[in-house]
């Protein structure tokens, strides 16, 4: 239950903060979720990773699909040297998931630190 809540909350909060703050707002979200939802560190990481990776990955997919992947094909060449929009989406998901997931571990570790 906490695991699922952590996934959903991290995705929703990332979207909401991203409306006002730069990309690193997902790291703040990770810190907050990690801090406030008590679970094993590894579960904090995995749940937040999944939440934000899903948000970034799917959001990228919907945008790109509406764009007939015109842009993703071009940008993918810059990054992986081939016209593969799916790889670009996966990289996007991993970058987002990893940034927030690691932050969740930091947040959780900080919470554990304060716990007597």
């Amino acid at each position: 239950m906490k695991f699922l809540a952590s996934i959903i909350l991290s995705a929703l909060l990332s979207y909401a903060t991203g409306l006002f703050l730069p990309w690193w707002s997902i790291m703040i979200v990770g810190l907050i979720i990690g801090y406030s939802i008590p679970q094993k560190r590894i579960l904090s990481f995995v749940s937040v990773f999944i939440g934000v990776a899903l948000f970034w990955g799917l959001f990228a997919y919907f945008i790109s699909n509406a764009n007939d992947h015109i842009l993703a094909k071009r940008v993918a060449v810059f990054i992986v040297k081939k016209e593969d929009p799916i790889i670009l989406m996966l990289i996007t998901a991993v970058v987002g998931g990893l940034s927030a997931g690691i932050s969740a571990v930091t947040g959780r570790s900080f919470a554990l630190l304060l716990k007597k």
Binding site: W23, W24, W56, F59, A66, A72, R74, V75, V95
Partner: protein, 813 residues
């Protein structure tokens, strides 16, 4: 333990943030770059994006409606023309902001600000050429004139109105790639744009190389290799036209023979960043007497570097004062090439030399005084501040003389000294208001209006073509061209003597022009404007062969239609090869050839002389001719190891046509004597090596060899944003002037019927966003030689099916 884990996770966390947010580790900060809410995904425009908008903006006097058609061409309907320029600025920025900034940053020598220190030589060159100085002079003239000032102010305000709506997510993708943000637009930036265009079209010079050539080759050989006129010249103004006695009497300085023509000097440094000498164009207008409709047809295709985003942005401006349509420059208000209800206008480059160098002797290191008319004259100093990304600001002091800026001195080219520096005299530095010409052309109704409008134009010299609904056709080669005594400015001139300065400008009425000539057409293709009877000395860089094809074709046409004109713009006939191939055939020693070489010879001799995409003959012919050219000239050009300029290709062709014992044929580096038979045969043998390699790579067919490519403005740094492998024909000296990355940047055919029958295309798209389907959607149409029928919208067309979106601009209080 938990402290340790916290510390480790915090460390990893911080490192990851740093790695994804900086350009120090990866060239791109992946966090912000891939962010779905602010990164590149935000540039992925939905293919069914709705461009309709209702905006309240400050800076317009009345409501402006913009109708966007199915090709994303905006049709701006405004009462007040300054409101139209405001919205034009807004739309230029909306669709082309990064390009506009990049081009004007380049003009101002400011690329180092976001590229870093590798752009310093380029930036210094721009500054030292006086680009900013020139733009400031232009701006002062533009702002002195009320109508131009109001137009520019409105245009600038429109751009800035758009810029103020931007947030990180909406930034054009190039800013995200390179990591900087747009600054506010200013009228100076528009002036800078006009100077960059001037540099592109009137910035090519050969004075330093000619000075070297004079020393290395001697006067007689110099004249042979760099002649004033081509025998095969088909001038813009028909041969035999009578010119009045010149108004100006031009006599060389008394000591010119000893000091100037016999100067024995060499210049060892090379000039970097020269504009492409292929920058040119075709235009022609045929009179109603020769067309099926009985109305004139005007055609124009400017040849420039092919880029994405395109140099052009298509637009219609409908105001109370006029209704004009055509292409605009993102960076300037108004239509630059196009038509209105009454007239059509277009341009080709004149190619005239309007740029000279003077040798300067400074008094000392400070560069504050130079020797002039027998005394030390003070030079003004302009300190150029060049900001460099990731490094300290650079200061570059440029001395200004009576001629202009001292572009080359020892601070810039280390083989120069206080005694020897070079100042630049360039018409581009003069104060003038060229924008006024365009603003007047947009509203011109007849020949008199056109003639008045073009009188404001001083540089870069253009062949300005005109056709009107009432039946006039005309062409003026217009600009302020320096008055020169014969030979003046070919070589570096002494800077200590005022008698070597330009004596003024040729008066406009003496500029080459034609109005409704008997031939029933006017045309130009960057060739020399006149035959040798024109009373002034007019050096320049002139093309020869496109004009021959165009004039022969036009001479033969009757009942001309728009389709005929499209076909002519796409004509791939190679008149140079027609004249050169017989020489190759005649002098090749067939019995010396391998079977492989004979095979290529067979391809060349059976070629139909068309530079069509699948022809192999053109690739083989070019390889052979280039090889012959090198056989004959390279030994002579490289003998002194100082920069020389290659003679034009007509020089060799015409020399060999007249004289099989042309004195440069023998290779000076060998003891034996090589005759033309030997050189032609050896050239083929050398070419065969390359040709067989090309054949193995499957690149013998012309289009595959040429590999037409429309590069992004960032060139090879942004290949994913380019389009390469475009399979089309054409080439250098061909009416369809498409070379590898250079060629017809806009093709337009306008029939002056009522309503006007207009067709056009350019190799790009209206949107500068690589994530938009409108980024490069015209390229395939262009490559096939096809056109779009232009929707020249009238007030009554607001419910036309061609209108896909509407933007309304309402004045905000």
């Amino acid at each position: 333990m938990k402290y340790f884990i916290f510390a480790i996770s915090l460390l990893i966390n911080a490192s990851l943030f740093y790695a994804l947010n900086t350009r120090e580790l990866l060239p791109i900060p992946m966090g912000s770059f891939l962010s779905v809410q602010e990164g590149i995904w935000q540039n992925a425009e939905p293919v069914d994006y709705d461009f309709s908008e209702n905006l309240n903006v400050k800076g317009i006097n009345g409501k402006v409606d913009v109708y966007l058609d199915d090709r994303l061409v905006p049709h701006i309907f405004a009462e007040d023309e300054n409101d139209a320029y405001f919205v034009q600025g807004y739309l230029h920025a909306k669709f082309r902001l990064w390009q506009m900034e990049f081009q004007t940053f380049a003009a101002a020598g400011r690329l180092s600000e976001f590229v870093g220190d590798k752009a310093i030589p380029f930036d210094r060159n721009q500054r030292r050429m006086g680009m900013v100085f020139a733009a400031e002079n232009a701006l002062s003239a533009m702002e002195k004139d009320d109508s131009t000032k109001h137009a520019l102010d409105a245009y600038t305000n429109g751009i800035n109105a758009y810029i103020s709506t931007l947030n990180t997510a909406k930034l054009p993708i190039e800013y995200k790639l390179l990591g900087y943000k747009p600054e506010k637009w200013s009228n100076l930036k528009s002036a800078l744009f006009t100077k960059q265009m001037t540099y592109t079209l009137a910035g090519y010079d050969k004075d330093l190389e000619y000075t070297n050539a004079l020393k290395v080759l001697g006067e007689e050989n110099f004249k042979l290799l760099y002649p004033e006129l081509a025998d095969s010249l088909y001038p813009v103004i028909a041969k035999g036209t009578a010119y009045a006695k010149p108004l100006a009497d031009l006599i060389p300085p008394a000591d010119a023979d000893s000091v100037y023509f016999k100067r024995n000097d060499s210049i060892h440094f090379t000039q970097d960043f020269k504009p492409n000498p292929s920058n040119g164009s075709n235009n022609w207008a045929v009179s109603g007497s020769r067309t099926q409709s009985g109305k004139p047809i005007l055609s124009n295709d400017p040849h420039l570097g092919l880029t994405l985003p395109s140099i052009w942005f298509e637009i219609q401006l409908h105001t109370k004062a006029y209704n004009s349509y055509g292409v605009s420059f993102p960076g300037l208000p108004g239509v630059v090439i196009g038509f209105n209800d009454s007239i059509a206008f277009g341009f080709t480059n004149a190619g005239r030399d309007v740029k000279d160098y003077y040798e300067i002797k400074f008094q000392d290191e400070s560069k504050s005084a130079y020797w002039f008319n027998g005394e030390w004259k003070n030079a003004t100093q302009r300190v150029e501040k060049i900001k460099v990304k990731g490094s300290n600001e650079i200061l570059d002091t440029v001395a200004y003389t009576v001629f202009g800026p001292v572009i080359y001195d020892k601070s810039f080219k280390n083989d120069l000294s206080n005694e020897k520096a070079y100042a630049l005299r360039w018409v581009a530095h003069d104060t003038s208001n060229i924008l006024k010409m365009w603003l007047l052309l947009n509203r011109a109704k007849n020949y008199e209006d056109y003639h008045h409008a073009i009188s404001y134009f001083n540089v870069p010299g253009q062949n300005m073509i005109f056709a009107s609904h009432t039946g006039d056709i005309a062409l003026w080669q217009q600009a302020t061209f320096p008055l020169r005594w014969k030979g003046q400015g070919l070589f570096v001139m002494p800077g200590y003597d005022s008698s070597y300065m330009w004596k003024g400008y040729i008066s406009m009425e003496e500029n080459p022009h034609a109005l409704n000539p008997a031939s029933g057409y006017v045309s130009s293709a960057n060739q020399r404007p006149t035959d040798s009877t024109y009373p002034y000395f007019i050096p320049g860089s002139y093309e020869v062969y496109r004009a021959i094809t165009i004039n022969k074709r036009l001479d033969a046409m009757k009942n001309i239609t728009v389709e005929d004109m499209k076909a002519l713009q796409n004509d791939n006939y190679n008149v140079f090869a027609e004249l050169a191939r017989p020489i190759l055939s005649k002098y090749v020693n067939r019995n010396e050839l391998s079977s492989e070489a004979s095979g290529y010879l067979q391809i060349i001799e059976s070629w139909n002389l068309m530079n069509d995409p699948t022809e192999k003959g053109v690739t083989c012919f070019n390889a052979w001719w280039d090889s012959l050219y090198n056989n004959i000239f390279l030994d002579d050009l490289q003998q002194a190891k100082i920069p020389l300029v290659r003679p034009e290709k007509f020089v060799l062709l015409e020399a060999l046509t007249k004289d099989s014992a042309f004195r440069f044929i023998d290779n000076r580096n060998t003891a034996e004597f090589e005759d033309l038979h030997y050189q032609v045969t050896s050239a083929l043998k050398k070419a065969v090596v390359n040709l067989s390699k090309l054949e193995n790579e499957g690149k013998l067919e012309w289009a595959k060899y040429k590999n037409t490519t429309v590069y992004h403005l960032l060139k090879t740094n942004a290949m994913p944003f380019a389009r390469s492998g475009i399979l089309n024909g054409g080439g250098n000296g061909i009416v369809n002037a498409t070379q590898h990355d250079h060629g017809p940047s806009w093709r337009m055919v306008i029939e002056m019927t009522q309503p006007i029958n207009a067709h056009a295309v350019y190799p790009g798209g209206q949107s500068g966003n690589p994530g938009s389907k409108f980024y490069d959607n015209f390229i395939d149409t262009w490559a096939k030689g096809e056109y779009y029928k232009i929707f020249f919208m009238q007030s009554s067309d607001t419910s036309s099916e061609q209108i896909k979106w509407t933007m309304s601009f309402n004045p905000a209080s």
